[in-house]
């Protein structure tokens, strides 16, 4: 199918735009010449298109068009990175705009902007062989349609969008209207497994959950379509959806060893803790979120020539420090570096450790390079989360643990990271509750990471602590809820300092994604006593020098919010 020029209206009629732009005819000529040069085919890594999306993800609003476009993006980006999406500033992944600029600046990508879905179809519909119709009244049909989109090169449309795609020469490949009406999600996905699972990749799977109900955000779907993944939002909640859990277990058991579960759990069915516990039990890795955009584009750019990760180390691996009689604080952010604090005001004013999504070395290297490039001397990168992806180590099968951690060690070497962050919320309740590691798990980490400076643990506060040779394991003593008034945060920290009266006291603080560093600077000023904020590597070295904390592991008597699946 040949692309036709986009049906753009008169420039002067479009609000907010130049009134003196080229005429429609001239624009069409320029556009045709642009295509005729073959620039996109010849230099796929140097020319691409960009779309700027709004924040309307309502099922009854902007979702159908975005879903059509995200399936188109996945197909268009199969052979070359051709379509990138910039999201609004208030989108959860705030890096799409900075990364867009990074591609232009460091990779020399020349972007042409696409304004409308119609224009996008004009340019890219040739990458699709047809379309599949989903039914917004049956939410799971969206995921079945996305699976078909990847397998059969289809665009995902609603009934109302059929004329639009047929105008571009696309024919129906499948129509899910009516097929699943009245069925449970367990029944729908069981049918989809029978029909499609064997043809899907078994290297990864798409947990296309997240927002559920009137708003859905399947922004990561381009990646799943490109990679021919099986899409689902099966529940990990054994109390509410045992049939779905059983089907999810079957799928997870049939994935290849070390496979990745992309996406995120459904906010309408279960919890992050339940799903991460579930996949960890199979030695698999979670890579969130459901709305992580542009992976189909990002995965096709490597590091720029000559680039090498150089972390801002403050101490050598074999350095020996001596702690003084004071309170040492260290701040860490772990909610994926692409979210939140990084782009908030004040970064660089305090030493800060950032848990890097290490798997991005494989499918989003440019994003990692962007973070490293824009790091200040106070930004220090650490590995995690728990391994070569997000996992709960208390549930990783013992025979899978060494290989997974070897993979993590390899990525930490590439990223020049000396600290491993661990998180096991399987028994926790969100950011409160039991986030501790069993002694067996701690033993495994010490065996698997002989060369790290140390380990940190938790999300909310935890009480797993240890020191073996020169490697401490310290849990968070405090979690800063971004909604908590700053005066109360200062009082909380002061109270911890008062209660932990022996000096030195090592106070590790987890900073939730949406905090900003400026507010932390003000909090630190309000603390009583001899306090010092130090980089995490210094913090661990000091903690190794004088052990004023207890050794502790998960106690079987400690309360557990969720006991797992066995």
């Amino acid at each position: 199918m040949k692309p036709t020029p986009p049906p753009v209206g008169p420039v002067s009629d479009r609000p907010g735009q130049s009134k003196t732009g080229p005429t429609v005819l001239l624009r069409r000529i320029i556009f045709c010449l642009f295509l005729a040069t073959g620039a996109f085919a010849a230099e796929p890594s140097r020319s691409a298109y960009v779309m700027r999306w709004d924040g309307d993800w309502k099922v009854a609003g902007g979702l159908p068009e975005k879903l059509l476009l995200v399936s188109l993006q996945g197909l268009a980006n199969r052979s070359a990175p051709q379509l990138y999406v910039v999201h609004p500033r208030d989108f959860q992944w705030e890096i799409t705009e900075p990364l867009f600029e990074f591609y232009q600046r460091k990779h020399g990508v020349k972007f042409a902007e696409i304004k409308t879905a119609e224009e996008a179809l004009t340019i890219f519909a040739r990458h699709a062989k047809g379309y599949v119709v989903w039914d917004p009244a049956v939410p799971a049909s969206m995921n079945v349609a996305l699976t078909i989109a990847g397998l059969d090169d289809a665009l995902v449309v609603t009934a109302g969008q059929i004329p639009q795609v047929e105008k571009h020469g696309l024919k129906p490949i499948d129509d899910l209207r009516g097929r699943y009406t009245g069925q449970t999600d367990a029944q729908i996905y069981a049918d989809a497994v029978t029909r499609y699972w064997a043809r899907c990749t078994h290297d990864c799977i798409m947990l296309m959950g997240g927002h559920a109900g009137a708003v859905r955000q399947p922004a990561v779907a381009d990646w799943g379509v490109r990679q021919k993944m099986f899409f689902h939002d099966l529940s990990g909640n054994p109390a509410r959806h045992p049939e779905e859990v059983a089907l999810a277990q079957k799928l997870l058991s049939e994935l290849k060893p070390g496979a990745i579960v992309f996406g995120w759990h459904s906010y309408g069915k279960d919890t992050e803790e339940q799903w991460t516990t579930l996949l960890s039990g199979y030695g698999l890795k979670m890579e969130g979120l459901h709305n992580l955009p542009n992976l189909s584009f990002n995965c096709q750019f490597g590091f720029t020539p000559g680039f090498k990760f150089t972390n801002n180390h403050h101490v050598a691996r074999d350095a020996k420090l001596s702690a003084e009689a004071k309170v040492y604080l260290s701040f860490v952010q772990s909610d994926s570096i692409g979210i939140g604090v990084w782009t908030k005001p004040g970064r660089g004013k305090l030493p800060f450790a950032w848990q890097v999504t290490m798997n991005w070395t494989k499918f989003s290297p440019a994003a990692l390079e962007y973070f490293h490039e824009s790091a200040t001397p106070n930004d220090y990168f650490i590995g995690g989360l728990s391994g070569p992806g997000y996992m709960y180590p208390n549930h990783i099968p013992a025979d899978r643990f060494p290989l997974l951690m070897k993979e993590a060690t390899g990525m930490m070497t590439i990223l020049d990271e000396h600290v491993m962050e661990i998180m096991d919320n399987s028994a926790a309740d969100g950011n409160v509750g039991n986030a501790d590691l069993t002694k067996e798990t701690v033993d495994r980490y010490y065996a698997a990471f002989p060369n790290v400076l140390g380990f940190i643990n938790g999300y909310g506060p935890a009480r797993t602590r240890d020191l073996r040779d020169t490697r401490p394991m310290i849990s968070y003593d405090y979690y800063i809820d971004p909604r908590r008034p700053r005066a109360e945060v200062a009082a909380d920290l002061s109270e911890l300092i008062a209660l932990n009266a022996t000096r030195p006291y090592f106070l590790l603080v987890h900073v939730r994604e949406s905090n900003d560093v400026n507010s932390l600077v003000e909090i630190v000023k309000q603390l009583d006593g001899p306090t010092e904020v130090v980089p995490l590597d210094v913090f661990l070295k000091l903690a190794a020098s004088k052990k004023t904390y207890t050794t502790r592991y998960q106690d079987p008597d400690d309360p557990k919010h969720f006991k797992g699946y066995k």
Binding site: D429, G430, N431, V432, G433, G460, P461, A462, R463, R465, S475, Y476, D477, Y478, Y479, I480, D481, R483, R484, P485, A487, E488, A491, D492, S494, E495, L496, A498, L499, N500, A501, T502, Y505, F506, D528, T548, Y549, T550, D555, D557, H561
Partner: protein, 175 residues
């Protein structure tokens, strides 16, 4: 006569206490007004259910966090100090402070201000990252004029500022 007075005075005292207990406006369910209180941390809802039986006052805490419901009751005695094996403190749950396993909390309570204020003092053992510590707690439950508002002022020996919680009475119509 002296003997009668000796018997009569404690009896009157007991009767007055009983009468107070029977009619105390403290009793009932109180709901935290979050907009007028110190921010809770790790809890979304807090109902306080107060019951009085003689010198014993039960303080039932009905807590909510997401879909999790938790309830714990501290019973204090205004007539004599007591030891509570499982004293419940509405903690800031994002701090690594935990009730010490097997710990016992020494509790003292008294009515003040003609029965308009209940004072509770507790020395509670806490597990901290450095081992164990004792937190001295001081609570005043104050009834506000009109008896539909209860203010709880909480002081910690280790915290530089008070926690102030304001509750409103839960009635049949306010449910």
């Amino acid at each position: 006569m002296t003997r009668i007075r000796r018997l009569l005075i404690p009896l009157l005292l007991l009767l007055s206490l009983a009468a107070f207990a029977a009619t105390s406006p403290f009793e009932g369910r109180w709901h935290l007004d979050r907009t007028r209180s110190t921010a809770l941390d790790g809890w979304h809802e807090w109902d306080l259910v107060i019951g009085i039986a003689g010198s014993r006052v039960s303080l039932q805490h009905d807590m909510k966090w997401g879909r999790t419901n938790f309830s714990a009751t501290n019973t204090v005695d205004t007539a004599a100090p007591s030891d509570a094996p499982a004293f419940f403190r509405v903690e800031q749950r994002h701090m690594a402070l935990y009730p010490a396993k097997g710990g016992t909390t020494a509790v003292r309570a008294a009515w003040l201000d003609a029965g308009r204020t209940l004072r509770v003092e507790a020395d509670t053992p806490i597990e901290i990252s450095q081992g164990h510590a004792t937190m001295r707690l001081y609570y005043e439950y104050r009834l506000i004029e009109g008896d539909n508002t209860l203010v709880l002022i909480e002081l910690h020996s280790t915290r530089p500022q008070p926690l102030v919680y304001r509750f409103t009475r839960v009635t049949e119509t306010s449910k």
